[in-house]
Structures are given as C-alpha cells and as structure tokens.
Symmetry: C2
Subunit: 429 residues, 2 copies
C-alpha cells in the first residue's frame, strides 16, 4: 500500500472496496474518525430499533411472557450459534453469556479438572506476562482458591513460552491477539506444541473474533488460523459491535462437553432449570457453560452486530484489515518520519491483528490531542497509542485523514510529558 | 380488608391510596392485570427514553468516551449507592453487578474465608431445601471445588434450622422471602441465633428488595427487618423494576470489606484497573466485589426503576403491600370458597412477603387460563399458583378484578390435570 501517495489514491481504494457499503450499517458521528473499535465497536444502526423493541414491546407489553415468546431464554445459545461460524466453531458449541473474565474462569476450571483426571501431577498454568491482566487475575483467583499447588508461570518471550510448556504444564492460556501490541500468535503451532507436551490450551479471542479469520475446528487451509484449541473465550463488544459491555462468549467443542465442569453452577446450567430440584445436574452440551439469568437487553443487541457479518466473510474482512493496517503503518512512517514514533505491532501479516500501536514519548498527550481533533484511538501504558481498524466501517480515506491529523499535531504542538498536557506552539499560554 | 365486599369498595381504596399516582410511572398494557412483578417487574416509562439515550447518544455518538463522560465505569457503585437506602445499607456498601448467583458465590467464598481465619473447624453451610435452587447449586459448586470437607446441610423446618446452626456451622445462607411460598423469615432473630453460635449469615434478598422494608444496619425499630446480616445479595429485575435480567446487587458492610476476598478477581475488582499490572491487588472498599466489564445498557435501566422509589418510602410500600395481599387472600377465600384452593403463604404479616401462593390440583391449567384472560401470575411446581403484588403499580380494583376472573374460570371451566389443558364447559370440543 506504500504506493498510495495521496488522499485521492485512498478515495480510489474506497471506491473499489467491496466492503465499503457495509459502513451504512453503522451509525458513526460526523467529524469523527473512529479508530477504537478494538475497544468498543461502533453502533449498528439496527441496534436502536431493536432496543426499542425489547424495551417497549417485549418487556413493556409482553412482560414475563417474553422469556418464551421473544426467545429470551434461548438467546445465549441462539446467539452462540450465530457467532460460531465467525470463529470456525459449530452449532451447539458456543454460548453468549456473562463476561470474558468469568468465561475464562469456567474454561480454566474445566481444563484443570480434565487434567487432574488424566495427568494429575501437572501444576503450572503457563501464560504471558503481557497477557490482558484480567486473564491472569482470574487464573490467580481460581488457583489460589483451589489451593492445590497450582502455579501461574508468566513468560516474557516466545522462546521462553515454548520452553515453559513442559511436563509440569497443565494448561497453556494465551490471548490470540495481544491487546497492547496487536501481535497475533500462531494459534495452530502453539496449540500443537502444547498438545505434544500433554497440556490443554485455552485461547482468549477478545481481539480476534470478528477481526481475523479463526478456524477452531480446521487445519487453517481456508485462511483461518489453524487452532487445535481446547477452549476459547472472547468478547462481543469489540470487533463484533455488540454494544458496551455486552455479554461475552465461550466455546466448548463437543469433544470436551461431557467433561466440562466448573464451580459456577447456577440454575441456567442445570439440566432442568424449572424443575427446581435442590440437587444440581449439569445440562447436556453447551448449556453447562451458563450460570445465572442474563441481561436480556444487552444480550439482544449482540445480534445486531452479528447480523452485519451476514453480508461478507472473514476472508474479505481480513484482506481489508491488512490493507488498512499496512497503509496506516506506511503513512505514519513516511509522513511523520521526523517524529519519535516507534512501531510496536509486527510488520509480518501473520503476526498482526487488526490494530496498530505506536509508542511516542508523549503518547498520552498526543492521543488526547488526536481525540480532541476527532481522531479517536486510545492509550495504554507505557507510552502506547493504539489505533484499531474495523474493516466493516473504516475507510482508506479515514486512514489518510487520521495520519494527516497526527502529522499536524506532531509538527505543530509541543508536549510536556510530566503534565500530560499539550498546547499549540502558537497558543498564548 | 375483609370488609371490602364490592368492586366499588376497592375503587374507594384506590382513590384514597397515596401510592396510586405512582402507577403513572409505569407502562402497563391495556387488558392486563399484572401480578408477576415478583418475577419480572413492569417497565418504568422512563426506561424507553433512557435506553434510546444510551444506544443513540452514549454508544452511537460518544462511543468509547462514554466510559468516562457518561459515567459507565462508575455505574455499579453509583447505582449501588442509589439502591442502598432501600435495603437499609450505607453508601459505599453496595454494587449492582453480575448475577445473583455469582454475587452469592462471592459472598459465600468470602464468608468461608473469614471463618477459616477465625474458626477453621466449621464445615457446614446451612440452608433450606426449599431455598431458591440456584443458591444451593452455587454453594455446591463452590464447596465441591474447594474440596476441603465442606458440607451443605439442607433443612426442612424452622425448628430443624435452629438446631442445624451448631458448632460445625460456618455459614447460614438463607433467602429472606421464599420464592415459592412467599414466607418471610425473621431476619434479625435468625441472624442473632447464627451469631450467638459463631456462624456468619448471608441473606438472599431477591424477593425482598423493593418489596419489604429492610434495615441491614438497624435494629428494626423503624419498621425494617432487623438484620444482623453479614452479607446480602439480591435482584434488581423483580420489585425494583430494573428490566429483564438486569444486573444483581451485593451488599458488603464496611466492617467486612477489608476481609472480603473471593476467587472471581477480574480487572474491575483491581485497585488500579488501568495500570494493567499483572499482579492482582484488590480494590479498597466495595469495588472488590466487582469482576469484569458490565452490560452497560441493561445496567443503565436499573436506575429508571430506582428513580420511582424517590416518590415514596418502604414503609408506605409495605403498608399497601399487606393491604393488597390481605385483600387478595380474603377475596379468594370468600369468593372462590367452594374450590380446592390451598393458601401456602403465611397469614401472619410478619411472615409474609409481597406475593401470595395458592395450590390447586390443576394449578398449571388454572394459571394458563388466567393468563389467557389477561391476569398474569405464574406457576411453580408442585401445583402452586403465584400472585405478586407490587404496590407501585397494583390497584385494589386489580385485586378484585383478578379474583373475579379466577372465580369465573374455576366456576365455569373444567380441567384435565393429565393433559394440562383447559376448556370451557360449554365449549364444543
């Protein structure tokens, strides 16, 4: 994409972009270039009418009857079945429920239980120090409470990761695309390594689902990441555009469902929730990954996000995502070349997710200035500016315009790191 | 209320009812008498506009900025502070988050940890066999996974309950108002008993919050149930009218907050969630009862339910609730006297919550017939018809009309229990 030397070139790319019409499915504010869909996806237009339908009709008019008549009870499974193809999963293997943190807790508990039945001496959970912290905290909470000698081994480098998956490793627990760096792991290779060494693998797909092709059952030949995963969890409010804090998902492949057990056994995971038995009996199948009553309204809007994906496929999304991130990297590195920006995200396509991170010594202040100018990315310690690219609604010309604003800010403003403030060089104060 | 002998008497009661104007805060469908607010509260009118604001403006226009600008991050605590006075709690002691099941899990885990530090030999969790099943399932899940010899002791009678709280009892875990019978426990007496015997007490307030006065810090002199509770959890979608599946609440009194620990340590419970430390450090105060990212839209609507309570107080709500349930019992027992209805709910005011349950040999079919005629209650095995009374929107004339429909159905329809169907006696088929 480095041949794109002008805004007109970008407009030409937009005109040729087969995904361009999908932007119409989203409500995006004027004057904003939204590059934070990796944190909170934009609003599908349909979500407003759907929320009115749930509130006014399903809740207001039909009241308690909507648990059946509007399909509220079945939503976690029905939406799971809708989401499944986007991650290469099958129907009956995914539920949309609870939070990513809680779903990871369930998956990790289940994985440890399976290992205790198979190879009970294994006592480490291997993950990265750079993993999204809640994943580490949940593992910490679980293992501390189990109090059976489990240790969490935090590793810093890829080589160290491979070495850490040894005969003591019960579970390898990784996030596919890192929230900060945007680096994408080789899911198939790491899963194969773990399996070869007797470990189970849990993947957190928070920054992957809806952004990069996934092939949880496949061999990667169709362009998805070959998986070999044992369990996976993820988020619906980033690239899947499900709405703020929308319920998360968990994938339990059929081969592990009979052995899937965890401590969060609420009534929704019961085989017969309305029998009101005092004895617990886990539901068959994916239902056992549920726990309690779900937030219906937030859950319902997840479907509006999933609906948009019916108009395209993950291969097309991935192709555009790489074109957008390639363009952004090239434009920043050429047009902002004299500024101290450091690319954090890998250049190799196979190692890149759908966001790009650059460091800048005054990253916080630069991002604040960008946001003030309507270019919305976000900031993560230390010094990292994140820019997310959602092929469903981000245009090539948006990339051009965002880089121009960045260039203008860097060329014309001065930053005081200590104060985390910024001011125009020509400002009075 | 047994002196009310006609619909006109009920209309007179409505005309004199100081809470009558509050019905205007709710959207209730025409032709429906809604007696199921104990399962799903009716929709506050304000919820529609609020949902549009969250979806169109906060999510759609302000996007990621709303985590701060619209106060999304603070909502669990802010709504907890709004809810606190309704249960006799203080600011900084309640959060609205997750589900009742999960909050009970946190409270029970914390209570067991406190007991292990104080009196580690105690190994039973005492509860009722008739408790709402998910409470028992969550206790089962937790203790099974702790694998440290905990037993759940299920008791059947009040006397047995008192005897079961012995020197082996770590935690007494009860629901204040039973979901099926509508029976209300003497919270103060049972808490005092437990404390005298060295146990901690957790109360599930699912059928109490917003329905009966609670006085979690008090001595009951102001009309609330004297508490002595150590922890409490509850539901916002029943009498608090927060919307279908809206997030639940958990109360941790200040005296227990420093010792409050549980395994569900997601990033929202971290002292500095955005520092992205890999080491977990629990937040001070009630924040440590949080876990992961919350479903913003469902959470936001909880406030519309809480707002209605600003127009009254729990003493007035309780007075009307007892008047409504007294009237319902009296009318059913006089006007449907020749039918085999059995009152399940206690007659004594101190032992009654805000719903009334009657058995009928064909309870399921009778309830189906009632619902078909627009009188919406619900059914719980075995043979129990539940009728919930929400003083914020239920009228005395609604009670009269509901009983008249019940009488007409019982007088004029025949039921076949085996088929769970009903048909008019004069119907052709």
């Amino acid at each position: 994409m480095t041949h794109l030397n002008s805004r007109d070139d970008c407009l030409t790319m937009d005109a040729r972009d087969p995904l361009a019409p999908l932007r119409e499915h989203f409500d995006l504010p004027d004057g904003v270039i939204y590059l934070d869909g990796n944190s909170l996806g934009a609003r599908p237009r349909a979500a407003l009418a759907r929320s009115q339908q749930v509130v006014a009709q399903e809740w207001g008019r039909d009241l308690i009857r909507s648990w059946n008549s509007a399909g509220w009870f079945d939503m976690p499974k029905r939406l799971g079945d809708r989401l499944a193809p986007l991650i290469g999963a099958r129907a009956g293997e995914v539920v949309v429920t609870d939070t990513t943190s809680l779903n990871l807790f369930k998956a990790l508990a289940a994985a440890l239980a399976i290992q205790e039945g198979k190879d009970p001496a294994r006592r480490t959970i291997v993950t990265e120090r750079a993993n999204f912290p809640t994943d580490i905290y949940m593992a910490d909470g679980l293992t501390r409470w189990l109090d059976r000698g489990y240790r969490i081994r935090l590793v810093d480098t890829h080589d160290e990761l491979a070495a850490a998956v040894d005969e003591d490793c019960a579970v390898l627990m990784l996030t596919h695309v890192n929230y900060r760096s945007g680096r994408q792991h080789d899911m198939g290779a790491l899963s194969a390594l773990a399996h070869a060494r007797g470990a189970l693998v849990i993947w957190d797909l928070a920054h992957s689902a809806g952004a990069v092709p996934l092939d949880l059952h496949g061999d990667g030949k169709d362009g998805g990441a070959a998986s070999g995963a044992d369990f996976a969890v993820g988020c619906t409010y980033k690239y899947l555009n499900g709405g703020p804090g929308a319920p998360a998902f968990i994938w339990v492949p059929q081969r592990h469902q009979a052995a899937f057990s965890h401590p969060l056994t609420g009534w929704w995971s019961h085989a017969r929730p309305f029998a009101m038995d005092h004895g617990f009996a886990a539901a068959d199948g994916i239902g056992r990954a549920l726990c309690g009553t779900q937030p219906v309204l937030s859950l319902a809007l997840v479907e509006c996000g999933l609906d948009v994906f019916d108009n395209t496929d993950m291969a097309a999304i991935r192709a555009k995502s790489l074109a957008l991130t390639d363009l952004f990297i090239a434009l920043v590195e050429t047009r902002c070349a004299r500024h101290p920006l450091g690319l954090v995200t890998p250049r190799a396509h196979a190692e890149r997710g759908s966001h790009v991170s650059f460091t800048h010594p005054h990253g916080y202040a630069v991002m604040a200035a960008l946001i003030e100018r309507g270019v919305i990315g976000d900031y993560r310690e230390p010094e990292i500016m994140r820019f997310g690219f959602t092929p469903l609604y981000t245009r090539f010309s948006d990339v051009w315009d965002a880089v121009e604003v960045l260039r203008d800010i860097l060329d014309n403003e001065r930053f005081d790191k200590k104060m985390n403030i910024h001011a125009r060089r020509d400002a009075v104060t």
